[in-house]
Point group: C2
Chain length 169, copies 2
DNA sequence: GACATATAGTTTCAAATGATACTATTAGAG
DNA sequence: CTCTAATAGTATCATTTGAAACTATATGTC
């Protein structure tokens, strides 16, 4: 099945198409495009907006930094998503009485309605993406992705001691 | 291991952290960051530039559209990468004698040197990413990603009959 | 209570990406 | 040959993303 293992450090052997990170990116882009088209085309939502809504949909009221913790977005992205969702009146922001730096974010009735509209649509896409995988394969894929993700995060942590606050995305 | 299967269409059950496309994106972002930091921080190369170099490194001379075919980038991205690589004098562009619309692109000696420098670095990252996976797990992961990717491309093809030229990325 | 530091969130600037429209050249139909 | 359509690549504009600096509030130390 595998070719005869030539010296893997041979520089002339480098094939982009067989390069693992490249394949990951192409895979991720394809999946991304499939899902985001649903909420983007029909509701004009960006990924950050969708994520923010998804988190607020379950947890009625959260501060921006609590969304950061739950969304693997950085605070700048969350701030921007909150702004645009407010503009669309899908989200309401109040100020925390205890700590006036903190915001108290909630979906509006309209925001919640749209969120509930979107859920079955993205669930359908999710199901279609993994339709030809068995249950075992699905969980295995998740597990393997998580393992590699942890490796990647550890690597970035080692090399980039220049980051400051959140995960790199 | 799995929780009792409640009704999966229950709208209040939606958890972003368990949503497959979300996990894919977080995974992809982490992998991306790990690899691209290598060629970005040390050589100031963007993803498009790196891909372009990787393809030209193997195939001495290609036109821009041949790079498009091999890189899953669209022609706009390739055009931009070519421009910036030319500016850095890592790539040389001639015009095809047969068909004067076509370019003939090659890495310069300096471009090739950098490419050869980068290869072992990205190979190290690649190895580190999958260090704790067995051979079987690695090939399985690849296979599963490919399957899902095909599903995703089919989905986008169905919905988006508005695309025109290349793959969505 | 004044001062240094940390935290919450926003603004700003630069780089990257996507979609569309455009120019130049070639190929094909008549 | 001439006109139309296709192809190769570029330019333009809007959106997205990331890094870093900035503002406002709160916390801890003395």
């Amino acid at each position: 099945m595998m070719a005869i293992p030539t010296n893997t450090t041979d520089r002339d052997d480098f094939q982009l198409g067989a390069f693992f990170p490249y394949k990951v990116r192409v895979f991720g882009t394809a999946v991304s495009a499939a899902v985001s088209s649903v909420y983007r085309e029909r509701y004009g939502l960006s990924v950050s907006e969708w994520r923010t809504m998804a988190i607020l949909g379950r947890n009625q009221a959260l501060s921006a930094s609590e969304i950061v913790e739950r969304s693997s977005m950085d605070k700048v992205n969350v701030s921007r998503a909150v702004q645009s969702l407010r503009k669309k009146e899908l989200l309401r922001r109040d100020i925390d009485g205890e700590d006036r730096r903190k915001s108290v974010l909630r979906l509006t009735a309209e925001g919640l309605r749209i969120f509930y509209d979107v859920i079955p649509l993205v669930r359908d896409v999710e199901a279609a993406l993994t339709a030809n995988l068995s249950e075992e394969e699905q969980t295995l894929l998740m597990t393997l992705m998580e393992k590699v993700q942890h490796n990647a995060e550890a690597l970035v942590g080692e090399l980039g001691a220049n980051t400051q606050d959140n995960e790199p995305n």
